[in-house]
């Protein structure tokens, strides 16, 4: 008799358990199906739209990496090769040369090379660049805007929620498809190898 009721209890519990399992399986399946509908094949990475960027300087501080995965990129085809470069020289620089006191970049990451009179080429040393956007601000205010910020996809750890995107005041950072991971300024860069 007791054996029988024990058995019944066991059966009842087993029934409850298997039906809840079924319900939960259905739940996850349904949820998965619903989301799968919207899921896109292919991955996403974070990128800055340089035309939205307002050069606030937060990219240097908010990234989970030190130094930031955001680096200054130089679109050479946009550059005017100015002697008086708004991105390289501090406003009110005493002289137009490579002396440290004249440089805008806090880490001296911009290299200035003489090309021919009166043109200079500017290149970025990415290892030194901290993504502070000081040069970008200078270049966009006084120059062609060829210096711009991009997230270096080689360095970026692709956080689920980009810490900089959250703090970006101009919502310039968004997820872009993995196949087209940059929003580089200039024309020639569009045709990615």
């Amino acid at each position: 008799m007791t054996d029988n009721s024990e058995n019944n209890a066991q059966n009842r519990r087993e029934f409850i358990r298997s039906s809840s399992r079924f319900a939960l399986a259905l739940g996850i399946g349904g949820l998965g199906g619903l989301v799968l509908n919207k899921a896109k094949a292919g991955e996403y990475v974070w990128q800055i739209d340089p035309f939205e960027c307002t050069q606030c300087g937060r990219c240097a501080d908010e990234c989970v990496l030190t130094p930031s995965a955001v680096k200054c990129f130089h679109a050479f085809d946009l550059c005017g090769y100015c002697d008086l470069c708004g991105g390289y020289l501090k406003p009110g620089a005493i002289e137009m040369n490579t002396a440290a006191e004249n440089q805008l970049c806090p880490t001296a990451a911009i290299k200035r090379n003489f090309v021919e009179e009166p043109f200079f080429e500017y290149t970025i040393d990415e290892d030194l660049c901290i993504g502070c956007a000081k040069c970008v601000e200078g270049c966009s205010s006084f120059g062609n805007g060829s210096l711009h910020l991009q997230i270096n996809q080689d360095l970026c750890v692709n956080c689920n929620q980009c810490a900089i995107a959250r703090m970006c005041p101009s919502d310039a950072i968004s997820r872009v498809p993995y196949d087209d991971p940059y929003k580089v300024k200039g024309d020639f860069t569009k045709s990615k190898s």
């Binding site: 919207k38 005017g80 002697d83 008086l84 006084f142 062609n144 360095l155 689920n160 005041p169």
Partner: protein, 434 residues
């Protein structure tokens, strides 16, 4: 000489160009170089190959399958241990802890409520696979595949048994955390699970100081209280717990029948071993308590919903748009502060105050509705906890608590049943325990 003149010319040019709105593409046209200067190409480093993301899913699947084999067939604690070390190294230190199943909750939630949000298949797979495995074989993910679990598990030195009351009350925190993270994710406010992940900074070897302190304290506490994050915070653990409770198969402490030797009693670092019930409580009293606490559940739900939704104004302050709108209303003079980045960006963006206020009001309304849902959910969890306390079951042997067991497999090691030196184990060890 030449330089000085050029400086003057370019200064004048600057003045002109800055003051006059130019529609030209470039302020300074690209020079025609006379020398054979070649424009360098801009190097754009490629991201990690996309195929590798799918490799992560495959590796997760393999780890889960192996863990299932180690838990159910091989009954090998060692196997689980090695798997968890591998997961810690791969998903943790090599892949820097992103993406993980815990954080994927938010992606899935956002994908459901926001039609424009495209979730990656990897995130979806990371969310689904451990749940499906939990539904059939228990929380093998926690034991073997989760890097956050692994880092805590490996540092367990001398776990103490927590009193039931503390365990149960702290056990409600994950519900709160899950609810809040869903609320913040669905309102596009923040991904708090990722932001306050205590170990991801350690995986990246690059943590902000406060997060390092948080992660460090979890690890130090974890030496004596097994897996504190998993048990008292992990929001994904809540879902896994539900699945695992009704799992088809599950880790068993003993391979055949329990001999009540009590060797496994202290082996579980997460207090997930149910002891035999010696004398059952009187059924009559039991049923009354059960009925009362069940009838109270709707009240808990209403109370929870009311409380949380009335806090929606405070909760919504976490949203940056709401924050900005509030700031501009309460301190209008901040518009003159040139150093306030958010305010200045807003002022120059051309967005009207009205649009911002509209957005903020909309988000706040979402928080109000979400607050009701979150509160009701918490009330339900609270009520069910009390109801569950009134349910007693007669048990003869030692069994794992299927919901809370993380399948680390320690108890299997302790169980003498079926081991060649069975007699010896029973004799030597039973004497040392009172």
């Amino acid at each position: 000489m030449l330089k000085g003149r050029l400086f003057k010319i370019s200064s004048v040019l600057f003045g002109l160009l800055v003051s006059i709105v130019t529609f030209a593409q470039q302020r300074f046209p690209r020079p025609d170089f006379e020398s054979d200067y070649k424009t360098p190409t801009l190097e754009i480093p490629e991201p990690r190959h996309g195929i590798l993301e799918y490799a992560d899913v495959l590796i997760l699947l393999i780890v889960l399958l192996l863990a299932t084999r180690f838990v159910l067939q091989k009954r090998s604690r060692k196997g689980i241990l090695y798997l968890s070390v591998f997961s810690l190294l791969y998903f943790g230190f090599y892949r820097n802890g992103c993406i993980c199943s815990i954080g994927a909750i938010q992606n899935v939630a956002l994908a459901i409520v926001d039609p424009s949000y495209a979730i990656s298949l990897t995130a979806l797979a990371f969310f689904m696979l451990p749940l499906l495995f939990a539904l059939f074989v228990g929380r093998v993910f926690c034991g073997a595949a989760c890097p956050l679990g692994a880092i805590q598990d490996l540092l367990i030195i001398k776990p103490i048994e927590l009193p039931v009351g503390i365990r149960k009350s702290l056990g409600l925190l994950p519900y709160l955390y899950l609810g809040l993270s869903l609320l913040f994710a669905c309102t596009q406010t923040d991904f708090i699970i990722c932001r306050y992940d205590p170990f991801v900074g350690i995986f990246r070897m690059d943590a902000k100081f406060n997060m390092l302190v948080l992660g460090g304290s979890f690890l130090i506490i974890g030496m004596f209280v097994g897996r504190p994050y998993c048990r008292f915070l992990c929001p994904y653990g809540v879902l896994l717990n539900w699945m695992s409770k009704v799992s088809k198969k599950h880790l068993t402490i003993t391979p055949s029948g329990c001999v009540d030797c009590r060797l496994c009693e202290r082996s579980c670092p997460v207090d997930a071993i149910k002891k035999p019930v010696a004398d059952p409580v009187s059924k009559k009293k039991d049923i009354n308590r059960f009925l009362i606490s069940s009838l109270l559940i709707p009240l808990w739900i209403l109370a929870g919903g009311y409380v949380v939704s009335s806090a929606h104004v405070y909760l919504s302050k976490a949203n940056r748009n709401v924050q900005l709108a509030e700031l501009l209303i309460s301190h209008p003079e901040i518009k003159n502060d040139p150093d306030h980045i958010d305010v200045q960006t807003f002022l120059t963006s051309g967005k009207t105050m009205q649009t911002l206020l509209g957005e903020a009001a909309q988000i706040r309304e979402q928080f109000r509705i979400g607050g009701w849902i979150l509160g009701a959910f918490l009330g339900l969890a609270f009520g069910l906890m009390f109801t569950r306390k009134t349910i007693y079951r007669n048990r003869t042997g030692y069994e794992p608590d299927k919901g809370n067991c993380v399948s680390c497999g320690r108890c299997m090691d302790y169980c003498p049943v079926g081991k060649p030196n069975f007699e010896e184990l029973i004799k030597t060890k039973i004497g040392t325990q009172s």
